[in-house]
């Protein structure tokens, strides 16, 4: 493991939000409960201009989490060396408090599909993903966190449960985990398992960050609920309850509110962060 610290991430166990440029001035003026910010790595890989200048400015005030959405760690083909070099450059100059990516694939045949696509949980996938994570941690020079996906379907060929799969990846690579509680709720609804049972099986001691976001509701061919991880609205009550269930077992953790589509005015996003602070404050000191 490239970095010797025990904590899976350097983020404070407090609320953070996904940074949107339209909130720049208000975040600086009235951050409220927000104590750290997360950015999508790929949006800050230009050579300069306003995005980089704003990020540099924000990083003087807030710990920053760099969250990659384009590395395609689950891809069947080798990682994109150019993209890995861009990540190394960003992490190098920004020196963020945390760096994370997804258990998913997004690039195939040189096509980037701009979505997080699902993986079968097999021994072959495990070997491939661990190899890619080793490479990322080696090149970027620090420990990364790996996020659990939202699932809309399952693979007949899977032989591992998702919590066991993530635990084994963390054990083999030394990476930390990013627990997206909304994703657990979405997957549990879509694939008909108990979200609390998932949390009971999940290796909470590896968690360096928690994600919360809103989802949309749809139905499948058989009229059963199909939740879509859209990040376009408030976090629903059952997900807040599941967060409490997690925090009761994990203790305090950095909690991020993700809101990426139909981005609301700052006070609404700040109110979601305040709700995360309330969830943290009810934990015994």
């Amino acid at each position: 493991m490239p970095d010797g610290s025990r904590a899976p991430s350097g983020l404070p166990p407090l609320p953070g939000v996904g940074y949107k440029p339209q909130h720049f001035a208000e975040i600086l003026d009235t951050p409220g409960p927000v104590r750290w910010l997360e950015i999508h790595a790929e949006n800050y890989m230009g050579a300069g201009g306003r995005p980089i200048a704003q990020l540099r400015h924000l990083s003087e005030r807030f710990p920053i989490s760099v969250h990659g959405v384009g590395l395609s760690i689950g891809g069947e083909t080798p990682l994109d060396a150019d993209h890995l070099a861009r990540l190394k450059h960003l992490v190098g100059w920004l020196n963020p408090a945390s760096f994370s990516e997804h258990l998913a694939w997004s690039t195939h045949d040189s096509h980037f599909l701009n979505d997080l696509l699902p993986l079968p949980y097999t021994d072959a996938t495990l070997t491939r993903v661990c190899g890619h994570i080793d490479q990322v941690q080696e090149v970027v020079g620090r420990r990364m966190l790996l996020e659990n996906p939202s699932s809309y379907l399952a693979f007949a060929e899977s032989t591992w449960s998702e919590p066991d799969f993530l635990r084994e990846i963390a054990r083999r690579t030394g990476c930390g985990l990013l627990l997206d509680v909304n994703n657990v709720f979405v997957s549990a609804t879509n694939l008909d398992f108990s979200p609390q049972g998932y949390i009971d099986a999940y290796p909470l001691d590896h968690v360096g960050e928690i994600h919360l976001g809103g989802h949309d509701e749809d139905h499948d061919d058989h009229g059963r609920p199909l939740l879509i991880d859209s990040h376009g609205r408030e976090v629903v009550d059952p997900v807040w309850s599941l967060l409490d269930y997690v925090l009761d077992r994990s203790g305090p953790n950095p909690i991020l509110i993700e809101w990426d589509t139909d981005v609301p005015d700052w006070p609404i996003l700040r109110a979601e962060a305040a709700r995360a602070r309330t969830a943290l404050e009810r934990l015994p000191a």
Partner: protein
């Protein structure tokens, strides 16, 4: 029963293709429309990226027509890198090849202008040249070389693309008049500013970029534009912070560049 990423990828971009076998719901039924969540995510997110990247084209065509075009484009030219800020580089050529749009001949060049504005927005920062640097002996000035800010872009067109762009982005802008326009994009701070270049200006800048001295570039520009006004072009560049250094003959070229 394994599902390869090859199969998944092919079905993702082609709604007519069968959903790969081996994908299931919780009751071990075939995944059915659950697969469409991924199809939809890919198509919607890339279509949205095209709207954001080409707001003037979207306005010229109407959002619904743009959706239709984007749907075709994204399947022919999926992004080749995760840097969505640069997605759509092939769009001008794609528009030029659409027969049903051939009556709107200016569209490809307007799309090139929108791409260039985006490149200017994300280009590396640089320190502008102090105009005092030009106050040297006139012969030495004519023999000197100029370097440009990474954000500076020039887009040339036989269509009035600046006027079209302005008419569709600025309240009360004048209606475009026929005639070609060369557009200079500068980025004095963080916002790219497109402006029409005077006749010959683009020739002069291109000659300088190719390594000509100020004087040699002037001669090149005067060849096509007998009344080429160097002062007007130079003023646009200086005001826009688009010049970064002046190198007198015998000095080494060393443009200033600030990388993040």
């Amino acid at each position: 029963m394994t599902v390869t990423q090859d199969e998944f990828h092919a079905a993702l971009l082609d709604p007519g293709r069968a959903i790969p076998e081996g994908l299931r719901d919780a009751d071990a039924h075939p995944a059915g429309r659950r697969f469409n969540v991924y199809r939809n995510n890919v198509a919607v997110s890339l279509t949205e990226a095209m709207h954001q990247a080409f707001p003037v084209i979207t306005k010229l065509l109407g959002a619904q027509n743009m959706d239709g075009l984007a749907g075709i484009f994204l399947r022919l030219h999926p992004p080749s890198s995760p840097l969505m800020m640069f997605y759509g580089a092939a769009f001008p050529e794609f528009l030029a090849g659409m027969e049903q749009l051939s009556h709107l001949g200016y569209l490809p060049d307007v799309a090139r202008l929108e791409l260039a504005i985006r490149h200017a927005y994300h280009a590396a920062d640089s320190s502008p040249l102090d105009p005092q640097a030009l106050a040297i002996d006139p012969d030495a000035l004519m023999a000197a070389h100029l370097s440009f800010a990474p954000a500076m872009q020039v887009v040339r067109s036989p269509w009035p693309i600046h006027a079209i762009w302005r008419f569709n982005t600025e309240e009360g802008a004048p209606k475009p008049e026929p005639g070609g326009q060369d557009v200079l994009i500068t980025r004095p701070e963080y916002d790219p500013i497109p402006q029409p270049l005077p006749p010959g200006g683009a020739d002069w800048i291109e000659a300088l970029q190719a390594g000509a001295s100020i004087g040699a570039a002037f001669e090149a520009a005067a060849e096509t534009t007998s009344d080429f006004d160097l002062g007007a072009t130079l003023a646009l560049l200086l005001q826009g912070g688009a010049l970064t250094s002046l190198t007198e003959e015998g000095q080494d070229h060393e443009p200033t560049r600030l990388d993040p």
